[in-house]
């Protein structure tokens, strides 16, 4: 995993340093640099901290209770929403000419024309931060759910509550320390993603100046190509900022650990925290769920809307034009997207299972260093190594074909598949294997007939996550595919540069459909296969 990233990084560092590091000089001369850097750091750290805080609150308030089931059902569809589509949906919801304003105008607000209010693209990146939270919270929640062992958690919580601890207090003191160890790398990935996201920042983020990642893209697109070295230097600076943010985050981790220890030694039961935590968790979950669902509903509506003007709450007429435009590209693009996603995800799944199986059989454990290498592609900003990787692929003559694209996707898919599968795998009860061995079964037999069936649900979830990640890749597909590999996402992003909400709506729905299908399978198949084995569904 490290090799392609390092090769790509070298390919970026080289132009950044060329000509006496001219790129860094022009970067330093850009007046927006301090603010853009601060925006990247601020929105990245704030959205990650908020997502993690809400994730913990939700788990502490509801894990193992009936209130959690609807939330768990909502997770899969929310995760399959592409970032750009989620951002566009949210933008249309909250803009001064958006759906909320339309629904309230003019009868409640008196507005006959949209008010001139700076809600989107606000200077402090508040819209951007909230948009990122809406997208990252479901991911963290899913990661946490796949790391938590229901029985162990239940025992710990019960013990804590018999000692008089509140739910929140019991969760933080008994479950969280172990959970966070598993969640740490996903959190780092979220932090790096939030700081470098381009598509969300483009739609929701500030513009004067934009965030650093957006500015790097703008430099890359300057027509006379004079800013390529600045873009490369910007990408390296972006990487430095991400590393700095990770460093800050680690300091905060230390402080938090200290605080939890103090909390534990003080023996604070704090049952009073539970009621506010429940309210907050309910509020956050319903706001985010509702906002994303309404945003998507608005995109779906736009895809069939004819004339729809402010302040009409609904379109005046309907047309299937956008779908007619989308259809001719639809079939080939869907087929190719599916092929690439499978070609990237199935090997990722096989590799992950192979690693984990070797771990279990030989009693090995992954060193932190190996894990860091595996997650390198998630932590290094894409823009910092993809252009370099493209040049590398060109030199070996591998680019422009869909297998090459699938191979690049593997770099991004593998860490996520590993992330989502490793914990369920490791927390399988080892006594089952012992029983198997005692009955004289071979290791292979134990794997195929014992471990894999037990892990059916997590394996299918990992597959769905891998598919969703592959389907969502834009830059790797465009750069390594040489423009000849057209997926739903490359089409969707090219079309969304034209800002036509009707067409964007139709493509965003299609883009969601594939991952949603696999998430649906991951939910339905175990239920179908184990319909007579209730214990397998626990």
């Amino acid at each position: 995993m490290a090799a392609p990233v390092l090769a790509g990084l070298a390919g970026t560092l080289f132009p950044a340093l060329s000509n006496g590091a001219e790129g860094f000089r022009t970067l330093a001369a850009w007046p927006g640099l301090p603010r853009a850097s601060a925006l990247s750091l601020g929105s990245g750290l704030a959205s990650t901290a908020l997502s993690l805080f809400l994730c913990i609150t939700l788990l502490a308030a509801f894990y193992g209770t009936g209130g959690f089931t609807p939330l768990r059902r909502l997770l899969a569809p929310l995760l399959s929403v592409p970032h750009a589509a989620a951002a566009l949906g949210l933008a249309f919801l909250i803009a001064p000419s958006g759906w909320i304003a339309r629904a309230l105008s003019p009868w409640a607000t008196g507005w006959t024309a949209p008010p001139d209010l700076l809600i989107l693209n606000d200077a402090y990146g508040v819209s951007l931060t909230l948009g990122l939270v809406a997208k990252e919270l479901p991911f963290l929640l899913l990661m946490a759910l796949s790391s938590l062992n229901a029985a162990q958690t239940d025992r710990a919580m019960t013990t804590a509550s018999t000692l008089g601890y509140g739910r929140v207090s019991g969760f933080v003191l008994t479950v969280l320390p172990g959970l966070y160890r598993q969640l740490r790398l996903p959190v780092y990935a979220v932090l790096a993603y939030a700081m470098t996201s381009v598509d969300m920042a483009m739609i929701l983020g500030p513009t004067l100046p934009p965030t650093l990642s957006q500015q790097v893209v703008i430099w890359r697109m300057v027509p006379d190509l004079t800013q390529q070295t600045t873009a490369a230097a910007g990408a390296i600076w972006q990487l430095t900022l991400v590393l700095f943010a990770l460093f800050l985050w680690r300091i905060c981790e230390g402080l938090a650990r200290h605080a939890v220890t103090l909390w534990a030694t003080a023996g604070l039961r704090a049952p009073g925290l539970d009621a506010p935590a429940r309210v907050l968790a309910r509020l956050a979950a319903s706001t985010i769920g509702l906002a994303l669902c309404l945003g998507l509903a608005s995109l779906a509506l736009w895809s069939i809307a004819g004339d729809w003007r402010f302040p009409d709450a609904l379109p005046r007429s309907f047309t299937l034009n956008a779908w007619h435009i989308a259809l001719p590209d639809l079939l080939p693009a869907t087929g190719l997207t599916l092929a690439i996603a499978l070609a990237a995800t199935l090997p990722a799944l096989a590799l992950t299972l192979g690693c984990l199986e070797a771990e279990t059989r030989h009693g090995l454990s992954a060193t932190p260093r190996a894990m860091t290498l595996l997650y390198l592609p998630l932590v290094i900003p894409q823009i910092a190594f993809l252009p370099g990787l493209q040049t590398f692929a060109l030199m070996v003559g591998a680019e422009g074909t869909w297998p090459a694209v699938a191979a690049t996707h593997l770099v991004f898919v593998l860490p996520y598949v590993f992330l989502s599968l490793s914990q369920p795998y490791r927390s399988l009860d080892p006594r089952l294997t012992t029983v198997g061995r005692a009955l004289g079964k071979t290791e292979a037999r134990i794997f195929w007939t014992l471990r894999l069936p037990l892990l059916l649900a997590p394996v299918l979830t990992a597959l769905a996550i891998g598919m969703a990640i592959s389907v969502g890749q834009y830059l790797p597909t465009l750069l390594v595919g040489g423009g000849r590999v057209t997926t739903l996402t490359t089409d969707a992003v090219a079309l969304s540069s034209g800002g036509n909400r009707r067409v964007i709506g139709s493509f965003a729905l299609l883009q969601m459909l594939l991952p949603a299908l696999f998430f649906g399978l991951a939910l339905a198949l175990p239920r179908l296969i184990w319909r007579n084995r209730r214990g397998m569904l626990a």
Binding site: G306, D307, N321
Partner: protein, 403 residues
């Protein structure tokens, strides 16, 4: 430098009488037979479904007439294609490149031509070239003051027009002073895309045209000595209107589609575009109210041409030339000018066309919001490319990090 001189020499050769009509025709037959069965990858901005549908239609024509398959590689930005050819050059790929044809103009062209990334000259040897209105539309051979030298072939003309809602505004402001007055009297209802977006920079250049005493100055590269005095009035104009712009000038739309969306959402009442037929086409598609009309400024607005070029290492050079020629076909040009299709202005000299071809243009209904060609007013030439770069950089320094 050497390579450029060599290209000039070749360009000169193409125009010498040595190549008679006969040899050209024989050469073209060779190109046609080489093109047959080829798949041409045309890298073109893919942000507009109308343009995408038009390119798909051109592909059907190419297949039916010449057996050439056209694949539209939909880009979010032309710079992606330029950067791609550049990295192919860096990787030493002198043949077998991914890009066969690219929709290009302005600084992208200047950059590729200067770096020797283009194949050519080829444009003036195309069989349909004599139909092009070189005398009446000098922009077809001069791209941002840079002579095209046959390294790119035009396929559409564009001119900046303002779009307004006739319900909100009775008398459109046809001078910059009136425009500023209207913007200040109607706070929040006018804006422009954020430079370095090309349409945003075009707005700056348009204002500059209204401010400089001698417009010929803009045809020269930026002169550092006179530059501050030349642009002082432009910045004064912007300083005056910015507080009254959409979001008080604290945010700007990203590009032309985003600006158009603001008009469609009713957030702004006055907008502009680089396509005189855009408003009519959007009205026809149901995306804009039918009360939108267009106007140009007294003294004229900036106009330029869109081109196609072939990279030096294109895999399907013959097929690419066949497509470039097909784009100049009167039937294709008339279809592009139809507001129900694209609403682009033609690059051909319609009056000089044979009767049957001419009738295709005469039959077009330009749409409610499109000005007849006679009312478009003077077409101002694009300033030298260095102005765009400099204005964009200075705008960013003045306003781009203002918060």
């Amino acid at each position: 430098m050497q390579r450029r001189d060599f290209h000039r020499l070749i360009a000169g050769l193409a125009l010498t009488p040595v190549l008679t009509g006969k040899t050209l025709a024989a050469e073209w037959d060779g190109i046609l037979s080489a093109a047959k069965g080829q798949t041409v990858y045309w890298h073109a901005w893919g942000g507009d479904p109308k343009i995408n549908a038009f390119i798909a239609w051109v592909g059907e024509q190419a297949q039916a007439r010449y057996g050439v398959t056209l694949e539209h590689v939909k880009l979010a930005s032309t710079a992606d294609a330029v950067a791609r050819v550049q990295s192919e050059q860096a990787a030493g790929l002198t043949t077998g490149g991914a890009v066969d044809l690219v929709w290009i103009n302005g600084e992208n062209f200047a950059a590729m031509k200067a770096a020797g990334l283009l194949f050519g000259p080829f444009a003036e040897a195309l069989p349909n070239w004599p139909l092009v209105d070189v005398a009446g539309k000098p922009a077809v051979v001069t791209d941002f003051t840079l002579p095209t030298d046959g390294f790119e072939s035009p396929w559409a003309m564009a001119q900046m027009v303002f779009e307004y809602d006739s319900l909100q505004m009775k008398e459109p402001p046809q001078t910059l002073d009136l425009l500023a007055e209207w913007a200040i009297a109607n706070p929040g209802r006018f804006t422009y895309p954020q430079p370095p977006d090309y349409l945003g920079v075009t707005f700056l250049k348009q204002v500059l045209y209204g401010m400089v005493p001698d417009p010929a100055l803009l045809q020269q590269p930026v002169d550092d000595a006179t530059y501050p005095a030349t642009v002082a009035l432009l910045w004064a104009f912007l300083d005056r209107i910015h507080p009254a712009l959409w979001r008080s000038g604290r945010a700007f739309p990203a590009n032309e589609p985003a600006l158009g969306q603001l008009l469609a959402d009713g957030e702004i009442f006055l907008s502009f575009a680089f396509n005189p037929g855009r408003a009519s086409a959007e009205i026809a598609a149901g995306n804009l109210p039918d009360t939108i009309r267009t106007f140009t400024l007294e003294g004229g607005t900036i106009a330029n041409a869109s081109f196609v070029a072939i990279p030096f290492n294109a895999s399907h050079r013959a097929g690419a030339q066949v497509i470039a020629n097909l784009l100049l076909d009167p039937e294709v040009q008339a279809r592009a000018q139809d507001p129900a299709v694209l609403g682009f202005q033609t690059v051909l000299d319609v009056q000089a066309l044979p009767e049957q071809a001419k009738s295709r243009f005469d039959a077009l209904d330009l749409g409610v919001a499109t000005l007849p060609p006679a009312d478009l007013g003077p077409a101002l030439l694009e300033p030298h490319a260095s102005w765009a770069t400099r204005l964009a950089a200075d705008w960013t320094a003045r306003y781009g990090a203002a918060q």
